[in-house]
């Protein structure tokens, strides 16, 4: 084993995944939002929604490009940095990874077509149908890759006999216990994030003096979507917690700072832990952990003291967990207020302070995504394949990982800044007011 190679491999994996997941989440969620916008536009016969779909699509191309290249990077890095792990796990879980490439193919092809056929068909509906494979392809690829990740958490579908893997069942490996909650939670949170990101852009334009109905429609539509998917995310998140209690109790216990196995366990919210593992400034709510874990206030929840010391994940995941749940709850609140406010005619939802809160929602949900993944991945440590292979055993022995880490840092810096700059310029050069004018002129010209 090569200690420094392990260290740098972890760092590089963390870096690439943390960066990829931003673009991947947008890649999963935004096609659905485009589709909804285009569909609403057709149904209401409102050009604004169609334009909304079209403008989102343009920006989407940029984020897809970064998603594709960083995805290619992580796909290769899995073999470059974790050769031992891939050699072992590949025998059992290669199937979903392989199927994922077909989903990519499908998505890439139809995205190319969709992009280059705006207005080519007389019937808008035909054009919108082209987006269906894009949205399905994106979501399915997320499903497959999340299945791989769930296998790392609860591996099954094989047996180990004297160091050899035997009796391998690829489908059993795919449908492992953590798969249903994980897949559902990842999808719902991706849709939620995309909705709030788009809402955040609309709110920002409204704050910046544009008073165009286009942005108001966009904001309202996206807040409705955000509301639906944030509730779904929270509900499924609760199921994820129940799953953990059953199958990965050490992750739940570490996330909740729950040390003693006990019945009627209280939930610890917030707080800080000092060197001696004393918890300060925390809010303790009796019975709540038992309810969260098993839906029963008297249920027994396993504590950290019942696990071998070298199998306990880092305790800082408590902060990540709280951050994610906090943001999730806050966003439900914000979107409920907004949607109810529109129906009821509450004035404060149009005030600048509330707009700013909405603007913040976009970045915050991205932070929740990051916190969620870090919770899930760090909470699996020290295992790379829980119960079978430790992270350190999976790593490469190559000596050059540190250098590669620096190179990839530079790459992601360039890609991150580049994509933001290009996106901003793209929309600034073609503001909505101008595009609507052009559009009107064009439609008169054609005589439709």
């Amino acid at each position: 084993m090569n200690e420094s190679a392990v260290f740098w491999s972890r760092l590089l994996t963390e870096l690439t995944l943390t960066f990829h997941i931003i673009y991947a989440t947008i890649g999963v969620g935004v096609p659905l939002m485009i589709m909804i916008a285009q569909w609403v536009g057709m149904k209401k016969n409102d050009e604004h929604y169609i334009l909304l779909a079209r403008r989102i699509t343009r920006g989407f191309v940029i984020t897809v490009a970064v998603g594709v290249v960083t995805g290619t990077a992580i796909g290769l890095q899995l073999s470059l940095l974790w050769p031992n792990f891939m050699q072992l796990a590949g025998q059992v879980i290669a199937l979903p990874l392989f199927m994922e490439t077909f989903a990519f193919f499908f998505e890439a092809i139809f995205l190319g077509i969709y992009l280059y056929t705006w207005d080519r068909f007389d019937n808008q509906k035909k054009h919108m149908l082209l987006l269906v494979p894009v949205a399905i392809g994106a979501s399915i690829s997320a499903v497959f890759i999340t299945i791989v990740n769930s296998f790392m958490n609860t591996p099954q579908g094989f047996e180990v006999v004297s160091g050899q893997l035997v009796n391998i069942q690829p489908l059993v490996a795919m449908f492992n216990p953590s798969m249903p909650t994980k897949v559902a939670h990842v999808l719902a949170s991706a849709y939620m994030t995309s909705a709030f990101l788009l809402a955040s852009i609309a709110a920002y334009r409204l704050l910046r003096g544009s008073n165009h109905p286009y942005y108001k429609k966009s904001l309202f539509l996206m807040m409705k979507m955000g509301l639906i998917f944030s509730i779904a995310t929270a509900v499924i998140g609760d199921f994820s917690g129940k799953f953990l209690a059953e199958y990965q109790p050490e992750k739940l216990a570490a996330a909740e700072w729950h040390f003693e196995t006990e019945e009627a366990a209280p939930l610890i919210l917030m707080g800080f832990m000092d060197e001696e593992q004393n918890i300060k400034f925390a809010i303790e709510i009796p019975y709540l952990l038992s309810i969260l874990a098993y839906g029963n206030p008297m249920a027994e929840v396993t504590g950290l003291n019942d696990f071998p010391e070298d199998e306990i994940p880092p305790l800082y995941i408590h902060y990540l967990f709280n951050l994610m749940v906090l943001i999730g709850t806050a966003m439900i609140l914000v979107s409920v207020l907004y949607v109810a406010g529109v129906w009821r005619g509450w004035g404060f939802i149009h005030r600048p302070w509330f707009r700013w809160v909405t603007v913040l929602g976009g970045p915050l949900t991205i932070i929740a995504i990051e916190a969620g993944w870090w919770l899930a991945e760090v909470g699996r440590q020290p295992w790379i394949l829980r119960g079978y292979m430790r992270t350190a055993e999976g790593a490469t022995t190559s000596d050059q990982v540190d250098l590669m880490f620096i190179l990839f840092c530079i790459l992601y810096l360039v890609l991150g800044i580049g994509s933001v700059v290009v996106l901003r310029r793209m929309y600034r050069l073609n503001p909505i007011e101008r595009e609507i004018e052009d559009r009107m002129a064009e439609m008169k010209g054609v005589g439709r």
């Binding site: 073999s79 992009l115 990839f408």
Partner: protein
């Protein structure tokens, strides 16, 4: 046919697909940069944009398919190649990332500047170079097993003439494939200036291509006599490839049957690529890993094959659709249509 052989054939076909579509892309970038330098960019850039824009992401997926597939069918490759290839493949990833994203930024975002176009063109030659090193390594002689882990001997690799011949061959192939294809594409677009220019490039690069191919076969004799014997024993395939090559050049020379010449070009590379692949059999990494030792278990192999067939049923109609819309559609290619870009 055994599952091992079936698996490697499938992967080899997709790698071939990548070689062709990526070569067109890489070469186009280079010619674009070159024509900028020589002040003829107006001739080419339009054609290149029209071809590349809708398909660039598809190109990338061919590569992803290959490397995901090879780890799926032959998990041991992850161990051998994963360990030794960290540096060359990381460099290739970085170049691919810069190139791909820059392309999207440029064509959907905003016009960039000459320096970028230049970097873009050069990266199109560096990527095949760094990827072709993988093939060189697979020939054996550069990897040693130390304490149970494979270690790459960089010094031997970079001082071997074989390495550099393969690098040069990859560059010559990229430029040749791309030039022949674009000659035809520009001709279809009725852009005769561009077509003529590309025809000249194609003829220029045909010489170096054959020279490098011959050089490699000769060097193989010294580097790895076993592999050389294998190559000799399937000489008819290389022979067919050479004949197809001559036919293509002849057609280009006569400015006749440009569509046919693209077909012959693809066949030529198909024969050479498979002849090379067959001569490599059964080794994935000479002499440590064969396709039989490296193969996954039966259950997974069958599952992968089923998934593959199901996937193809989705893929082939979709690929047909995109090619019909953007490569074989006269209206689109000539730019007579309105621009329907989002």
């Amino acid at each position: 046919m055994s599952l091992e052989v079936l698996g490697i054939i499938v992967l080899w076909i997709f790698l071939f697909g990548y070689v062709i579509v990526a070569s067109i892309d890489f070469g186009a970038g280079f010619f674009n940069a070159y024509s900028l330098l020589t002040g003829r960019s107006h001739i080419l850039s339009n054609i290149i944009q029209r071809y590349l824009s809708p398909v660039w992401e598809v190109t990338n997926v061919f590569l992803v398919f290959f490397f995901v597939g090879i780890v799926g069918f032959f998990p041991k490759t992850a161990f051998y190649y994963g360990t030794v290839l960290l540096v060359p493949v990381s460099i290739a990833i970085i170049l691919l990332a810069i190139r791909g994203s820059y392309y999207a930024f440029e064509s959907y975002g905003s016009r960039g500047h000459k320096g970028y176009a230049f970097a873009y063109g050069v990266s199109g030659l560096l990527i095949p170079s760094s990827l072709s090193v993988v093939l060189t390594i697979s020939e054996g002689g550069f990897v040693e097993i130390v304490d149970g882990s494979p270690v790459l001997d960089y010094w031997a690799l970079f001082t071997s003439p074989l390495t550099w011949s393969i690098v040069l061959l990859s560059i010559a192939s990229v430029l040749y494939i791309s030039a022949v294809f674009l000659t035809w594409y520009a001709w279809k677009a009725q852009d005769l200036n561009a077509s003529e220019l590309m025809r000249k490039y194609a003829l220029t690069w045909s010489g170096p291509l054959m020279l490098m191919a011959a050089a490699i076969i000769i060097q193989m004799q010294e580097h790895n006599p076993d592999r050389f014997q294998n190559m000799i024993s399937i000489w008819p395939m290389f022979g067919v490839s050479a004949i197809l090559f001559l036919l293509t050049v002849w057609l280009l020379w006569k400015k006749r049957g440009l569509g046919l010449s693209v077909g012959l070009l693809i066949l030529q590379f198909l024969f050479a690529f498979f002849a090379y692949g067959i001569s490599h059999y059964p080794y994935l990494l000479y002499p440590y890993l064969t396709i039989y030792e490296g193969f996954t278990n039966q259950e997974m192999a069958i599952a992968l094959v089923i998934a593959f067939i199901a996937g193809l049923c989705l893929l082939i109609p979709s690929l047909y659709l995109i090619f019909r819309l953007f490569v074989f559609n006269k209206e689109y290619v000539t730019g007579n249509q309105k621009d329907f870009h989002a």
